[in-house]
Symmetry: none
Subunit: 243 residues, 2 copies
């Protein structure tokens, strides 16, 4: 494990420090409650200023991964939220875990101009085409979800990739792009004509709509995913624990 900071890297020092801390605190001794090295010392060891180090620690404190106590020290927060694991399974793995065989009803890849919200998330112009993937998936007899994915041009997708492979595996293998953080928004919607057609339901019927903002190792946006789930066939579960 690399426990040093690269001052020549274009990645900001506080981001590097943050990532380093995320690794560091996985160490059993810290998980067990041992205090982290104090800020002044740690900053010296990493060859960054205390200000910069604090910036990194602040993030983890905000996420409630670390707890600071004045005059005492900083340690890993004992119990943190779960929910997690399920979100990092790919769709096929997720379905497999539920005992459902996945069927791909449609798979379509194209180059399109991003709409406003997509361009804004990716922080790119709406004038430049990006790769869009559309997918209708479900169980053997029931197409219950329609996915639309947009990928950041930084990744370098050509549109000719093998999208039948598990997506994140492919992105990691072929493009060294690793999904690291995902922010999701779940809401209920009326199916429009297009979605209703795909999911074989009435226009206006409820669908569970999931927006997914996926970020890579460097916290940079990499994928924008929209999922329309047929109402009766999908339940989103979250488990959270008081900290």
């Amino acid at each position: 494990m690399k426990l040093a900071i690269d001052h020549k890297s274009p990645i900001p020092l506080h981001i590097q420090a943050e990532q380093l801390l995320r690794e560091l605190i996985k160490d059993p001794v810290y998980q067990a409650g041992k205090l982290l090295p104090n800020e002044v010392e740690l900053a010296k060891k990493l060859a960054i200023s205390r200000t910069t180090l604090r910036q990194a620690i602040n993030k983890l404190v905000y996420e409630e991964l670390l707890i600071r106590k004045k005059g005492f020290g900083t340690k890993v927060a004992n119990s943190r939220i779960s929910s997690k694991s399920m979100n990092w399974l790919s769709f096929s793995q997720e379905m497999k875990a539920r005992g459902i065989t996945v069927k791909n009803y449609e798979l379509h890849v194209s180059w399109v101009f991003p709409d406003e919200s997509t361009a804004s998330f990716f922080d790119i112009s709406t004038e430049k085409k990006i790769v869009k993937m559309e997918r209708l998936r479900g169980s053997s007899d029931n197409p219950f979800v329609y996915f639309i994915s947009y990928f950041h041009p930084r990744i370098g997708l050509t549109g000719e990739e093998d999208f039948k492979r598990p997506l994140y595996e492919m992105l990691e293998d072929e493009y060294s792009t690793i999904a690291n953080l995902s922010k999701e928004e779940i809401s209920a919607l009326e199916a429009n004509k297009f979605i209703a057609g795909k999911l074989e339901i009435e226009t206006g019927s409820p669908v569970l709509f999931r927006k997914r903002f996926v970020y890579d190792q460097g916290e940079r946006p990499m994928e924008y995913n929209l999922g329309y789930y047929k109402a009766e066939s999908f339940v989103y579960t979250v488990e959270s624990r008081r900290t």
Copy 2:
């Protein structure tokens, strides 16, 4: 509204600045998308350093109340009602944090026989009555959620409690029952006639449905909560990180 910072106050300047900003951004012109004064200028106006001001702004950016854009400026994010930390904040606290005043449209407490699924979760008989609470809540002009809560008899509720207080606070203070773990299931539903009537929408319109299984300190079931959210007015957000 006080738009100045008291340097003699024992309250840290960055906290004062944060509070001040929270007020400031409620101003319609900022809600409408006007850029905030730039950091250097605003810091000067408040007579604090830019670093301190940034500390305050950072918090709001973290909460996604503000958006910063390099070389451009800082503005209010078009905030939807979301449920990021909803998990462990009460509804009213969460809404307050979003600057929305909570209105209780209906509040009804009764003793009822539990149905099959409730009894099964609580591991009790369907022959014994338990406390049921129904609540229609929302913003000042929009009732957007209907809650139904069942409470485990172990807690010892009489039904005469002050349910206008934040729920979990009341349970903790009066009954030493602390919510510790929550398992949630989110799905989309068609509003039935009853729910549609409460939420003032058409029967058959989509609602976001959230089941919540709440456990106490000893991992024992304590509350079973059903929430029906008006589709357009609620987004459930989940943030997860690869581990």
